[in-house]
């Protein structure tokens, strides 16, 4: 898989087109906003989305774990969509997860969607510090470099008279926001107020995610 090299907080990261981020020095894989079980959560309101999101997200993460074999997997929040979502994790899924946990530490930072939910084998944190980096779902007041999720950033690209939206990795000097690793998750324009309030409008590094490649704007 091709990756895009990103320098952030004096560290080197690899951004992958499957929307995961790899920190090579510490052999750590980082993902965010999986929203597992979003479909089932919508179903309770009678919006019947195809119930394959959980299966696909888990497959995607397993493929990545198989390839990279990381020491740590950090999930920067919103692993699950809500309390109902655990219904979409079948016995076999739990079995598979515990297999992978034998070789990889699963570090689950709680997001706004899943703060009150527990899954066996996952270690729960509100945030997690490694050296000068702080992993947290939503950025907080701190002098540390922060790696976050929550916003599902997407970027509007206008070129040759056409406009497209692409999910993206984005960071300024201090804050890095991951794209959503989920399947049925939408996105938020990076120029929206919510994201501008966090990152500001200038000196942004934007990396749109393509089919097989992460680009740099």
């Amino acid at each position: 898989m091709y990756y895009q090299l990103i320098n952030f907080g004096n560290e080197e990261f690899h951004a992958y087109p499957d929307k995961s981020l790899y920190w090579k020095r510490l052999n750590t894989l980082i993902v965010s906003d999986l929203h597992i079980g979003k479909s089932i959560s919508y179903a309770k309101n009678k919006q019947f989305l195809p119930p394959y999101d959980t299966k696909e997200i888990l497959n995607k993460i397993f493929v990545s774990l198989d390839k990279i074999k990381p020491t740590n997997l950090i999930i920067v929040g919103d692993l699950l969509h809500d309390v109902f979502s655990t219904l979409s994790l079948k016995d076999q899924d739990h079995k598979n997860l515990s297999q992978y946990m034998k070789n990889t530490d699963f570090i689950w930072i709680k997001g706004n969607h899943d703060k009150n939910i527990q899954i066996e084998g996952f270690k729960n944190f509100t945030n997690y510090k490694i050296d000068k980096l702080l992993f947290t779902h939503i950025p907080i007041e701190t002098s540390l470099f922060q790696i976050c999720g929550h916003y599902h950033p997407k970027v509007k690209i206008s070129h040759r008279g056409k406009t497209i939206f692409k999910t993206c990795f984005i960071h300024n000097e201090k804050i890095f926001i991951l794209p959503s690793f989920g399947i049925l998750t939408g996105g938020l324009d990076i120029h929206s107020k919510q994201i501008s309030d966090v990152l500001g409008k200038n000196n942004l590094n934007i990396y749109p995610v393509g089919q097989d490649k992460v680009y740099k704007l």
Binding site: I40, A43, K46, F48, P50, Y52, R160, F165, G186, G187
Partner: protein, 810 residues
């Protein structure tokens, strides 16, 4: 009219009123009355002005008077437009009030207040005038049967507008429901004249089906604008003739200028204003304008307070504008029926002819306009193909049925297959649609505890809605018309109308564009509102609306081909057209009626292949994509293609040697699936399907979700579904929609079936005169992106003409 003593209408309650007005009954009114009285379902074909509305009401009024003090709903009148429904009420009011008949009537549409609707339910009028959507809603109420079981007549107005679309499917299902409620119900259809009258009969009538037809013997007077200017080779804006169009407006009291797209409407309107030295009152009317603005224009039109209205199909149906003297059609007529409908907007008086002027915007359109006039003389109308019923509409109907109360699926299935579009709906397809409403209908059963409808334990055939809250969701999602995501345009605090979100996304702050006849500057977008201010800019974009393009009808296309081949007619054309065709004959060839001319020539390092199919834009677009793939396979290194209604041009790096081997039915069979896969056509239609079938909710005012997000998430759903469950009924449904609408599959198949024996291949050394228009479109498409103005186009045109060695024509 022939009134004889045996005319049964002389005893009709309305006869007194007719006499007072000094009107006499039309033969088709007598005939309809008799057929309906003897128990027939009838479709009446008559032109505007022939008392069509009254025809529908003759039997209901007679019956109501005979029944004396009939309580409850007796007759439903279905109109395609809300505005038309109000007009019908006004027309009905006159005789009923003047004769003081004891008959109550009301209108019920999306604009009717909830209070009034509630009152109607408590005390229903005898006659209710409504729309297909409001009828569907009526049928979804818990007490629907009680309300509708004594219904005697249903009248479908403008039935020709309902035959080939999803609205027709919805209507057909709801008519069958009414028939179940009230088995004696009789159906009366009112239609503009149609080629395949039998099809309309099949669609509507069940009991002793009858057709009543009245043809207007006075033909409309249609001519082509005689222009002193040069008709352009290509383009669609008719700028060359703007002064002459203005003169025509001055000559008549009231003119409607019809154009084919909203963009053309804005452009024409703006340019008429620029030359409006006489200060004529000119207005613009199209579907994206704010309702109040539209109503104002309609009102001024009916009162004769304007001199001219530039309009799209938004004014095709609707109120009687008695004072309209002249219709000007700018751009290709595209179809006979459509042209007739438009021309019929002028002069609603049967004994004097309607007057219309056609303004072709380019040379092919001149031939098309000529052909259309010929066909109208011969009364050779377009056929309206009945469509096979769509799955998503059935799903919505199942949901509606559940809202009305528990139901037996076998009864429902039997009722649905009585509707003509669903005669062939298979039981297993129907069951898949039941499952779709129940829980999405996925193979993976994840939603057992969240079902929307469920089977009763004691009888598995009976389904029931899980809770009443769901009825609200159905009511918010009713209907089959799905708009593209639109944004409101605000000038200060005033709303001007709606504009496609896609267009706004391509604008930056400060860009100007034309809307509602004004040049506006884009300022900002907040909460789905587009803030604009007036601009003095001269360079402005015109919103392009994706729905604006409709293909040339097969009927008219055949006529164009026939006319083109008739070289003895050429001398009657303007000199420039004659010269154009003669040159073509000398340099290449004019194809015969059933031939397919293919021209190949080198140009600027590339190799060009032009195929004249006359297949209409959709089919040509599809064929273009397929040929790109075919050329790739043969390693001709194709670079691109452009299609219009008449032809396709492809350009490639290498010479295309085996065109006859590639261009046949095999091409379609081999590459179509791939094509559908790669383009977003099916994906886009999936969104409509998901909304109509109530799988996802429609965007509604006040909801946080923007249209873009709906589009986005339906894309995600499509992708996940396609990957995991490619046989899902909604994917099948979207695929069928694509075949029917966007790619014109059947038409293309017909052509490819016979094309290989009819290809006339011409190898040329340079571009031919006939190819110039489409070659120009290539460059126009590329240039428009750079906002190049007309001068550059002119320059380019000359360059290409020089190349074709045909400059002397002008």
């Amino acid at each position: 009219m022939n009134i004889n003593k045996s005319n049964p209408l002389l005893l009709h309650p309305l006869n007194k009123w007719m006499k007072k007005k000094k009107w006499s009954w039309f033969p088709h009114q007598i005939e309809t009355f008799q057929h309906v009285q003897s128990g027939s379902d009838v479709v009446v074909f008559a032109p505007t002005g022939a008392g069509k509305t009254l025809t529908g009401f003759i039997n209901p009024i007679d019956n109501l008077i005979k029944l004396k003090n009939f309580k409850g709903l007796h007759t439903l009148y279905i109109s395609p437009l809300k505005s038309l429904a109000n007009d019908i009420v006004r027309n009905l009011e006159k005789p009923i009030k003047e004769l003081d008949l004891n008959i109550s009537f009301q209108v019920r549409t999306g604009d009717t207040t909830p209070y009034k609707k509630q009152k109607q339910k408590q005390k229903p009028p005898n006659i209710l005038i409504t729309t297909p959507e409001s009828l569907a809603l009526l049928n979804s109420y818990e007490n629907a049967k009680e309300f509708l079981q004594n219904l005697k007549y249903i009248i479908i107005d403008e039935i020709h507008t309902f035959l080939d679309n999803k609205r027709a499917d919805l209507l057909s299902l709801n008519i069958e429901r009414l028939q179940t409620f009230s088995p004696n119900l009789q159906r009366i259809g009112l239609s503009a004249t149609l080629k395949n009258k039998q099809d309309a009969k099949k669609w509507l009538c069940r009991k002793k089906p009858k057709i009543v037809s009245y043809e207007n013997s006075v033909l409309p007077k249609i001519k082509i604008l005689e222009s002193k200017e040069r008709i352009p080779w290509s383009g669609h804006m008719a700028m060359y003739s703007i002064n002459e169009i203005y003169k025509e407006i001055m000559k008549s009291k009231l003119t409607i200028i019809f154009v084919n797209t909203r963009a053309q409407a804005e452009y024409m309107f703006k340019n008429l204003w620029l030359i409006n030295k006489k200060k004529l009152k000119i207005a613009v009317h199209h579907g994206s304008l704010e309702k109040n603005l539209r109503l104002k224009v309609e009102n001024n039109l009916s009162k004769g307070l304007v001199d001219c209205v530039v309009a799209t199909s938004s004014l095709e149906l609707g109120l009687d504008y008695g004072d309209v003297e002249k219709i000007i059609q700018v751009g290709a007529p595209k179809g006979i029926n459509r042209l007739l409908q438009r021309v019929g907007r002028s002069n609603h008086n049967l004994s004097t002819p309607s007057k219309a002027i056609l303004v072709p915007t380019n040379r092919f359109e001149f031939i098309e306009a000529k052909a259309a006039i010929e066909e109208i003389k011969k009364n050779n109308l377009d056929k309206i193909d009945l469509k096979k019923g769509s799955f998503d509409v059935v799903a919505q109907h199942i949901f509606a049925t559940a809202c009305a109360g528990q139901f037996d699926i076998n009864d429902l299935y039997k009722e649905i297959i009585k509707a003509y579009p669903y005669k062939k709906l298979k039981l297993n397809e129907f069951k898949q649609l039941i499952n779709l409403i129940q829980d999405g209908g996925y193979v993976l059963k994840n939603y057992d505890q969240f079902k929307r409808i469920f089977q009763l334990r004691e009888n598995k055939n009976i389904y029931k809605l899980v809770n009443r809250r769901e009825t609200r969701k159905y009511r918010m999602n009713v209907g089959t018309i799905i708009e593209n995501p639109m944004l409101k345009i605000k000038l200060g605090t005033k709303t001007l109308g709606n504009i496609e979100e896609v267009f706004i996304q391509n604008l930056s702050q400060g860009d100007s564009f034309i809307f509602a006849g004004q040049v506006l500057e884009f300022q900002s977008m907040k909460n789905n509102l587009v803030q604009v201010k007036r601009s003095k800019s001269l360079i402005s974009k015109i919103p392009s609306y994706s729905g604006g393009r409709m293909p040339l009808s097969t009927n008219l296309a055949n006529s164009v081909r026939a006319l083109l081949a008739k070289s003895n007619m050429w001398d009657l054309y303007p000199e420039q057209i004659t010269e154009w065709l003669k040159r073509q004959k000398n340099i290449s060839k004019i194809p015969k009626k059933d031939e397919y001319l293919v021209e190949q020539f080198p140009r600027k390092k590339n190799f060009y292949t032009v195929i004249y199919t006359f297949a209409g834009w959709h089919a040509n677009q599809t064929l273009g994509f397929l040929l790109l793939r075919g050329f790739k396979e043969f390693n001709y290194k194709p670079l691109g293609f452009v299609a219009n209604d008449y032809a396709i041009v492809l350009w490639s790096l290498k010479e295309v040697k085996e065109i006859k081997t590639i261009l046949n039915l095999g091409l379609l069979d081999k590459h179509l699936d791939n094509y559908l896969e790669e383009t977003s056509i099916v994906k886009r239609l999936f969104r409509d399907n998901a909304i109509i079938s109530c799988l996802i909710e429609r965007r509604l005012p006040g909801m946080e979700k923007t249209g873009k997000q709906v589009l986005f998430s339906s894309d995600l759903i499509y992708t996940v579904l396609k990957k995991n469950e490619p046989d899902h009924i909604l994917l099948k449904s979207s695929y069928e929609d694509a075949k029917k609408n966007m790619i014109d599959y059947d038409r293309l198949r017909e052509i490819l079936k016979k094309i290989d024996k009819k290809i006339i291949l011409k190898k040329l050394t340079s571009i031919s005169p006939l190819a110039v228009p489409i070659i120009l479109e290539i460059n126009r498409e590329n240039l428009s992106k750079k906002e190049t103005d007309e001068y550059i186009l002119e320059d380019l045109e000359n360059e290409i003409l020089k190349e074709a060695n045909v400059l002397s024509i002008n």
